[in-house]
Amino acid sequence: MNRPSEFTRASVFATAVLALSALTACASAPQGASGSGTASAGGSYTWWDPYPQHDASSAWAKRVGSCGQQAGVTIERTAYDTTALTNQALLAGQEGNAPDVILLDNPAVSTLADAGMLTPMADFGLDTARFDANLIAAGELDGKTYGIPIGANTLALYYNKKILDEAGVDPASIKDWASLGAALEKVKAAGAKPITFAAIGTEEGSFQFLPWFWGAGAQLTRLDSPQAVEALTLWTEWVKSGIAPNSVISNSQNTTWEEFLTGEFAFAENGTWQINSAAQADFPTGVVQIPGKDGGVAATPTGGEFITVPVQKDTARYAVTKKILECMTTPEGLVETGTTFAYYIPSTADGQEQILAKEPGLQPWVDAVRSAKGRTSDNLGTDYPPISEALWTAVQKALSGAASPADALEQAQAQAEQATGE
């Protein structure tokens, strides 16, 4: 009986030590947090963005830092993964210690604005009229604008010129789904892999599917329309017949791009942000717009981040924040961001002309961005995220063979209606 009680005493002691160290860790944490600048740290401003791939020594970090310098403060930048950023922002909003600036993926803007976490741009006297209407739409909610797109990107089809030449495919012949299908069959007959895209069960999957969905004439307000079924059938047939690899079901846009870079694929659906990488590939590449079902260019979704300002208790901070925002959104600032990143098309006509003067090769991308469509537009706003979740779930079901495209989309429509309360 002696031993267990000694053991108990020892473990109580050990736990007590652990608890004390945990408590001291707790007590010191908030100090560290406020030291990094939310409350009254004067010279330092906090900045969150969804670019963990750009570390402190990157050109992007320097670009952010220089905007702080121009405003006379230092910027403390923290990067999160896109999904984690929304969660972190909500937590910070709840705790009342949100950062001064957040760069948000555009569908998240309406979510955070609806949560009452963001300050309208009009409060800063910032003019939002000069931004392209189709781009800034994602930042609008109930007539107010809660963020400014620091640039925009969208999707197109990259092709491997070597494979197309060998298969005898002229990229200019791709005008609609039928001619694209013929091109893919030709490539397959020539022994190469025809196409890859990302159908992963996340927002990326919806983002990649939308050009085909919209290109068939479908609307996000009706996920189970015959047009939507046509679009999903197109993808499903590609996977079934081996035109696209089965792994697209779990592949992200980055993974499919890596696949394309191996030189084995003729086409890859990917975004503006790969322009540099495509230019450096071991084979010649080119770009065609994603065709609509019956011809013309399909509407592609706009991607890209919005600069937003979370509500602060200390409103005196807004003056400096405004300077940081201006630095990021002047035409020159937009061009600088665009060239720093190599994947942003400026969000104003002014900025677009300036970047084209510098890099005329961007013309097809500027065209694509001008004709692109916001995911939360059509008045979807905060309804978009649950609709998108239903959509990518349907894509996953159909491509994996768990349900037919029609059944999958019918379930998706029911799921979306339930989630948006209609």
Binding site: T83, G201, P245, I249, E389, Q396
Partner: protein
């Protein structure tokens, strides 16, 4: 009290020096306990309370930030039970958990018995079996998903050598649960091996000698000596395995995100996805699913305590 009244002098004389000492001792005891109590309150009671609170309100992102959620009672729980995903997730959780711990235990026990024979190089080989335990999960789970890739995975390449066609391990609803279970079994074997091996060390060697003299074969020695004497250790291993496996999120999330078409969605994955997985946080249903999971684990924990008590009294 009566004794105090009848013999006031004697009792109070004896009690006076004792009372402060007793109180002081009680305070000392409490002081020693206080950190533990604070620890339990801060790190166990509060999160649990918060989880329950989340699950009986409707926390939209707006309500979460503003702190004014609508009280909905058990509505979240009813919604979850009525959801198509619930039965699927429950079934997947049961399959994943039971298959994992059964295979982990069987393989772990086989390896423990094997290494118990103290042959040359037993120690370094045994150490190598611990590697899965030491690897960060992000590494082992990513490696598994590469190995099981439909087109470029080494597993399919090996199977193709034997004429088996392409198996879409992670991207077919028929195989994705199997794929994550295999990976999880591999991860859990070292834990079972270590505990069972330690248990084997406690079985006296003379028993085996005596059994050998009586003419018992290897199988009989295993059935009549090893298994019964290992029973307490086995029970604890299986119960801990059960509780650990119920909660697994990381490996499934990294390999399949619960997909495709929810085929590998367990209750834990479902809860995580609702809260953090979609960019559209739904904390309330997520907390409700989490609480159901806590309930299941709690029942398993109670069973553990009961069995342990029975073993102790036996």
């Amino acid at each position: 009290m009566t004794s105090l009244r009848t013999e006031p002098v004697a009792v109070s004389g004896a009690a006076r020096p004792a009372a402060p000492r007793g109180r002081a001792r009680r305070w000392t005891a409490f002081a020693f306990l206080a950190p533990l109590i604070v620890y339990l309150l801060v790190f166990y009671a509060y999160p649990l309370y918060r989880n329950i609170e989340l699950s009986v309100h409707d926390y939209t992102p707006r309500a979460f930030v503003q702190g004014d959620p609508e009280f909905t009672g058990l509505e979240n729980y009813l919604d979850i039970l009525a959801d198509d995903t619930f039965l699927r997730a429950l079934r997947s959780t049961a399959v994943f958990t039971l298959a994992s711990i059964a295979a982990q235990y069987a393989i772990g026990l086989a390896l423990a018995v094997f290494f118990h024979r103290h042959f040359r190089l037993a120690a370094p080989l045994r150490a190598m079996f611990l590697v899965p335990w030491l690897l960060p999960l992000i590494v082992s789970a990513s490696t598994w998903s590469w190995m099981l890739n439909s087109e470029n995975g080494i597993v399919n390449a090996a199977l193709q050598a034997f004429g088996v066609g392409q198996i879409n391990w992670l991207t077919s609803p028929d195989t994705s649960l199997l794929a994550v279970t295999i990976a999880n079994i591999w991860l859990g074997v070292p834990f079972n091996l270590v505990i069972l091996y330690a248990g084997l060390q406690n079985i006296p060697g003379e028993l085996y000698e005596a059994a050998g003299l009586d003419g018992a074969g290897a199988w009989q020695r295993f059935r009549r000596i090893t298994l019964p004497l290992l029973r307490p250790v086995s029970l604890i291993t299986l119960l801990l395995g059960l509780i650990y496996t119920l909660k697994v999120v990381d490996i499934i999330w990294i390999m399949t995100r619960g997909g495709p078409a929810d085929a590998s969605t367990t209750l834990a994955i479902w809860s995580y996805r609702e809260a953090f997985g979609t960019g559209q946080p739904d904390f309330s249903p997520a907390a409700a699913v989490g609480n159901l999971l806590i309930l299941i684990a709690f029942v398993a924990g109670l069973a553990h305590v009961r069995l342990q008590r029975r073993e102790e009294t036996a």
